[in-house]
Each structure stands twice: as C-alpha cells, then as structure tokens.
C-alpha cells in the first residue's frame, strides 16, 4: 500500500518588501545583504493575516487537490509554527473548525523551530500506516519574527504549506522512507514572552544547519541505499540562498536539482513553511516516477529527511489549486513604514 501525500497546498500573503527598502532605514549596504544572503525581497503578512489564517488558506488549497477526501475522514491535524497567535489555545483547532473537520479528530500545534511541520508529516504517516486514521493533515505556517535592524529582518517572512497524508490510489507523492537527526544545539531560540528570537551569529552555520542537514540527508541515503544520483530534485530548509547551495554541493547534488524548490530569494524565510513550500514548488512541475529528497531543519536542533517518489496521480491533481509560482508573482510592494505598521512595530502607549 502506497502511503504519502494525497494533496498539497500553499499560501503566501501578497505584500512584499525589498532588501533595499529595509537597508535604507538602517543605513546598511543593501548589496551585501542581497549578495551575502542571496535574497531580493520577502513576503509580509497584512494586518489581518497571521499563522492561523495562512494555515487555513494553505489547507483549503491542499483539500482542493484531494477531492476524494471527505472532511469526516480526516483523523488528525497538526500545525507546526513558531508564531502561533496564542501561547495557549491551539491554532490547530481553529484550522480544523474552518475546514469543517471537527469534532471527530485529534489536533495539536507542534513546535521545533522551522521543522515543526515535517515532524508532524512523520506523525501523520505513522498514524496512517498503523491504521489509526485514514487521512491526516500537517501544516507548516509562520509569520516569522526578526528583530528590527537584525540580519533576520531581511529574511523573516510569512507563508505556509499544507499536506494531506493518506494511502492508496490518491497518493501523488509516495513517501518511501524518512530519517531524522536531533541534538541539543543553542543556535537560535526565543524565550517565553520575548518578541524576537536570539541567534548565535556564525554559530548557526557549521554546528547547527550544516551538521544536521548534511548528516540527516546522509543518514537517509544510507538507510535507503541511494545516492544523490537517484534523485531528480532536492529541497532543503532555506534560511537564505547560500546555506542550501552549500549543503547541496557538499552532499554532491547538482545545483540544477536544487533550483526548482529554492525560493528564498523571492519569498524570504517562512520558517515552518520554508522547506515545505519548496517541496510544493517541486510537485508543481515534477513528473510521475521522479524522486525528490527533502530535508528540513529546525534550530535547537534537528532535521527530518524524506525520500519521495512522484506518482501518476500528480498530473490530474496539481492543476486543482494555485501553484507556488502564482503566489510569488501576485505581489504588492510596500515601504518600510507600511511594513512597520503591518508588523506592529509602533508602540501606541
């Protein structure tokens, strides 16, 4: 029995701010950020958009691509994010209600920096395989925080992706294997009550992102007895353009296999949505039989890797909802003051 993705969908708010606009305010050299991070612009949520609204829009798109799934057949829904609107009150319950899936299902918010949703995909795969549920939904969505003036402000973006996990004929992408890699690493954190995360600067690279993304991917290759040559596409978590490019090179993946799912230059880092929106962009163009390797990364730190094989069902299902490219192109540029208003940077009292 094939187990994997039966529907996928994304959502990206339409507002954008360019690197130059942010750099102008702080007196930074825009070119060094543009070239250093490999980023041109990032998405910004409107005043009335947050992780819950983004998750609902992405999940509705995912359900459009899974027309055979009846709401009553969805037994689990998880929302992975580091910007849940409430500290206590689950985003997942709001999303399940908005999709008409309630009350007979289990739901929870998951948290593991930027990999909270890939872990939830694993949970859904497990429950489907065990026969506990027929379908499960995992959503990664964020309105990412980055302190003003911090390097993170150039990349912290808003967006999300949703995946309906199930078995049988409707599977558009079979998950052949998954492997995870986790260690306690203090590279990036946000304490309770803090508005913005702190990060350990250069420390976020070698012992954090690269150690986990590369080791996890190697672990998956070893477990499945495959090599980079066996995959047509590779998608990594993308906090900037440089990190995934360097990881791909080190692992021996041709850069061409990374490009279709590498969107950070135009989207920014959507945290929990990052690698999963990248995967969606690959599913938008992939052909039946092609293989995709996906590795997420969450600070703190861990990675989840997936070996995915696209099935013939992709051709009829992908055209049922908007592709990632549509959301990247449907945009409206704002200046820094409008951005500051949307991100509620002004204190009124």
């Amino acid at each position: 029995m094939r187990v994997g993705i039966v529907g996928y969908g994304v959502y990206v708010p339409r507002l954008r701010i360019r690197v130059e606009e942010i750099a102008k305010v702080w007196g930074h050299d825009a070119r060094s950020y543009r070239e250093g991070l490999g980023i041109e612009e990032k998405s910004v949520p409107s005043l009335d958009e947050d992780t819950a609204t983004i998750a609902v829009e992405a999940a509705r798109n995912a359900m459009r691509r899974a027309p055979e799934v009846k709401p009553s057949e969805v037994g689990a829904l998880f929302v992975g994010s580091e910007s849940h609107p409430y500290v206590v009150k689950p985003t997942a319950a709001t999303v399940a209600e908005a999709l008409g899936l309630t009350p007979s299902l289990t739901a929870a918010d998951t948290e593991f920096a930027c990999k909270a949703a890939t872990t939830a995909v694993q949970a859904c795969l497990g429950m489907v395989k065990a026969g506990y549920i027929k379908y499960g939904i995992s959503i990664g969505a964020d309105t990412a925080q980055g302190a003003p003036r911090d390097a993170l402000e150039y990349t912290a973006a808003a967006g999300g992706a949703a995946y309906v996990v199930g078995a049988g004929e409707g599977v558009v992408a079979e998950v052949e294997a998954t492997y995870s890699y986790t260690q306690d690493v203090p590279d990036f954190w946000r304490r309770d009550g803090a508005s913005y995360p702190k990060h350990a600067g250069r420390f976020t690279g070698e012992p954090a992102y690269f150690e986990h993304v590369i080791s996890c991917t190697r672990g998956l290759l070893e477990k499945t007895g495959t090599t980079p040559k066996d995959y047509d596409y590779v998608v990594f978590h993308q906090p900037n353009s440089k990190f995934p490019l360097k990881a791909a090179k080190e692992l021996g993946f041709d850069e061409k296999k990374l490009q279709p799912g590498l969107l950070v230059n135009r989207l920014g880092n959507t945290y929990s949505g990052s690698s999963l929106i990248g995967l969606a962009a690959v599913l938008d163009v992939a052909r039946p039989g092609e293989r995709i390797l996906l590795t997420s990364y969450g600070s703190g730190a861990g990675s989840d890797s997936f070996s995915i094989r696209v099935t013939e069902a992709i051709d009829s299902k992908r055209k049922l909802a908007p592709p990632v490219m549509y959301y990247l192109e449907k945009r409206e540029y704002i200046d820094y003051s409008t951005y500051a208003k949307c991100r509620r940077l002004f204190k009124e009292r």
Partner: protein, 154 residues
C-alpha cells in the same frame, strides 16, 4: 468586545469560519446568517445547514476613511455588500483590493482573515472576508511546464 463578548464570539464562530447559512427545501431560498426557521415559509419551512461556495459579486460598497477604534489601523478600507451566488447578501470587508479598484459587479471570493482582536490579550475573532476573484493561476501551469521543457533542452 470585552471578555463578556466571548460567548457571542463562540456562538457565531462556525458560520463566520465557513460561511454557513440556512437553505429552505420548501421555498428553495438560502439565508445568511443562519435561521432557526424559514422567514418566508414559517412553520411550513424545511431548513437545513448549507455551506456557501464563497463566490459572489459586489452589490454595493463604501470606503471607510474614519474607522471605529477597533478598525482604525485598517483605514481606508472597503466594506462591501456581497451578493453570494446562492442569493443571500453578506456585509464584509473586501481585502487585497485598493479602494480605487473596487466596483459594483466585481466578482469576489471568500477568504479567511482576522476580523478583530479584543483588547488586552483578549480573544482573536477570525472569519470570512472577501477578495477579488483571480483565476489567472491556472495559466501558470502552462508557463511552468514550458519553462521546464526549456531547461531540459539546455
């Protein structure tokens, strides 16, 4: 809305999240907000819950330049009277649209947004708003596949 508004928020939450209304099998009329009995047929009415498609057109609109305290950060914003495909008219904010671009007859679709937040860490109310219909996304697939064929050639 204060904390005392929480019960009201909760009672109408499903219809706001999913645009749920009432359909009367007897007179074949749809209603929003939901009705316990059909206002036309009264005791002869046979009502059931219906989830609307979310598609409709702008029947009329106004642009708010001076909003109440809860909404003043959104100004100028559009309030539209939306006529749903199924018939009922719904009052809603129209988003992802500039005040100069809205017009009567414009096709709109429901989206899921934050409606307002109670002060001082109170509850967040979510629900439908409307945005202009944009079906142009279907054309992107032709472009994507053409791009792909180009890459494969080179």
């Amino acid at each position: 809305m204060s904390v005392s508004g929480v019960p009201r928020h909760w009672r109408s939450l499903r219809e706001r999240y999913r645009l749920l209304g009432t359909y009367c099998e007897n007179c074949k009329t749809s209603f929003f907000p939901p009705r316990k009995i059909c206002p036309k047929c009264r005791r002869k009415g046979r009502t059931r819950e219906v989830e609307f498609s979310g598609r409709g057109r702008v029947f009329s609109y106004t642009v708010i330049h001076v909003g109440s305290k809860t909404f003043e950060e959104y100004t100028p914003y559009i309030i539209g009277l939306i006529e749903l495909q199924e018939g009922p008219r719904v009052l809603s904010q129209i988003v992802d649209c500039k005040p100069e671009d809205v017009h009567i007859g414009m096709m709109v679709e429901a989206c899921f947004r934050k409606l307002f937040e109670q002060e001082d860490g109170g509850i967040i109310s979510y629900g439908f708003k409307f945005r202009p219909v944009d079906d142009s996304w279907a054309e992107y697939y032709d472009r994507l596949l053409a791009d792909r064929a180009m890459v494969e050639k080179t």
